[in-house]
């Protein structure tokens, strides 16, 4: 019987089992692959003059509520809760833990929700600045993101990093941005020896109403994904996404162009763990044995 990729990653130490599906530690070598791939991203995006911002893995709950995420993907979100009681409550809590009861039931929601995608904290930040500058806005983001979807597919992690560029401007401006990154994505992945296809996205919108949202997203070609084999060649994994929001985020957050028009927005995202896993799946777990041209592109010194 073939050993699964996840087990091989555990055995090699590249990923570290925490006992929770989709929650893994990373070895120094795994982290290094991600850092090197991000530097490759920088060589493509660096000259565009994006403003770099790094938000922590949690965001303002009020902004999360405004985003509408709970309408589309309630099952994936993670709210952060804390103990807010006094000393007697604390004694009850410890007694509850002692007998292995559900001590979490009295935890109270804090003002923080785990970030579902790196760009979520950006929109309210930019809206607060007032109108966009002439020429629109371009932002460079990266953060850990959370999706509550326990799985033994190593490419489906509950906590993972997403690198993003977000563009705000006219329809033409942001759709050109999106096309540019689709071209760049294909070129980058070819350079690191990965086989890719591009397809319309298939997001896991929740419930029956969600099926309509999914159909709408597909029919309007609003979101594309760059797919690369990780655990399966027949079912490749979305490792990049290219998302045109029309003026939906502009209207929701009050993002306006210099002339007052509602801004259109688009974002391009890299699933950094997925890309690293695609590299390991394609070239093997021993980085020193990766093809020389791939090693060179990633800056490994031979």
């Amino acid at each position: 019987m073939q050993t699964s990729l996840l087990d091989r990653l555990f055995d090699s130490g590249l990923l570290i089992d925490t006992g929770v599906e989709g929650l893994y530690g990373r070895s120094g070598a795994f982290e290094d692959v991600i850092a090197r791939f991000e530097r490759l991203v920088d060589t493509y995006g660096g000259a565009d003059g994006a403003e770099a911002m790094r938000f922590p893995p949690g965001m303002n709950r009020a902004h999360f509520e405004t985003s509408g995420y709970m309408k589309s993907f309630p099952q994936l979100a993670g709210t952060v809760h804390s103990f807010c009681g006094g000393e007697l409550d604390h004694m009850s809590l410890l007694q509850c833990m002692e007998v292995e009861g559900d001590w979490t039931k009295d935890q109270k929601a804090t003002d923080i929700v785990l970030t579902p995608a790196a760009c979520y904290p950006l929109y309210p930040t930019i809206a607060k600045r007032g109108r966009l500058p002439a020429g629109g806005g371009l932002y460079d983001l990266q953060s850990y993101c959370f999706r509550h979807e326990p799985s033994n597919d190593p490419a489906r992690q509950q906590l993972f990093r997403m690198r993003e560029y977000v563009c705000m401007g006219t329809q033409e401006h942001v759709t050109t941005f999106r096309q540019t990154w689709m071209d760049r994505g294909l070129e980058m992945m070819a350079k690191v020896g990965l086989d890719v296809t591009i397809d319309v996205a298939n997001d896991p919108f929740f419930g029956r109403a969600g099926r309509m949202l999914a159909n709408n997203q597909r029919d309007q070609n609003l979101k594309f994904e760059l797919l690369i084999p990780v655990t399966s060649t027949a079912k490749p994994t979305a490792c990049m996404s290219f998302n045109y929001h029309q003026d939906a985020f502009g209207a929701k957050w009050g993002l306006n162009l210099e002339n007052g028009d509602v801004a259109h927005t688009a974002c391009v995202g890299f699933g950094l763990e997925r890309i690293a896993l695609a590299l390991f799946a394609r070239h093997g777990l021993d980085i020193a044995a990766w093809p020389t041209d791939v090693r060179n592109v990633l800056g490994y010194q031979d």
Copy 2:
């Protein structure tokens, strides 16, 4: 009236207001200071042969429960909760959000808790490997950590990064490790032009029972802190800590030396945001105007 450091950090764009106290975005320049300081840490710790591991900002709840954190600091912990209902529950949830009710009350605890300190996921990971190798173990960690303590002190953030080295071995081995890093910490901070003092730690143990734990920690000199002025010279901020756990973690997690004895453990932690803030407070918000020797140590090119 003097503008607070936090407001000056917001105005300069180094920190980004998210609307939640203690939850901030960082500019590219702020991140770069942290990256450069970490490289300085590497120049001190790099030759020791520590095994690098990077855990995500959340950990296995079962391990968190075993850690005993809820006994000492229940008020600081953050549990991650998700929506686990069906379509009807989802409709109720959206209706609740519509009327601005408490939609979070039906969220259910997941298997994940936010990491309170970078080393928490390490102990069960090492215990699972069996006995420590001869010469003990040395590990290099960094992660985002969560502490639920909203504050307008920029040095008290709810989500911040901690770099750590953890040593496991005999009492002599790990206390020598701790002393080495106290010496290194003093030297590093002097090199980057920061005024430091070292004192016994003053952790915010919860409640009346917690006061005993705090007294015990102080009386036994188990934890020291390296204090640097950030918002106040009179009340400097703990930017590094040096923690000797005796054999408490060894016994709790089943960490054993090669000869079967229970391992002693110690850890040294860098509060990366706090150190960056101390640098900005001391040398000003314009990195280009920092003293040349400090810029050189951090690898800025003039």
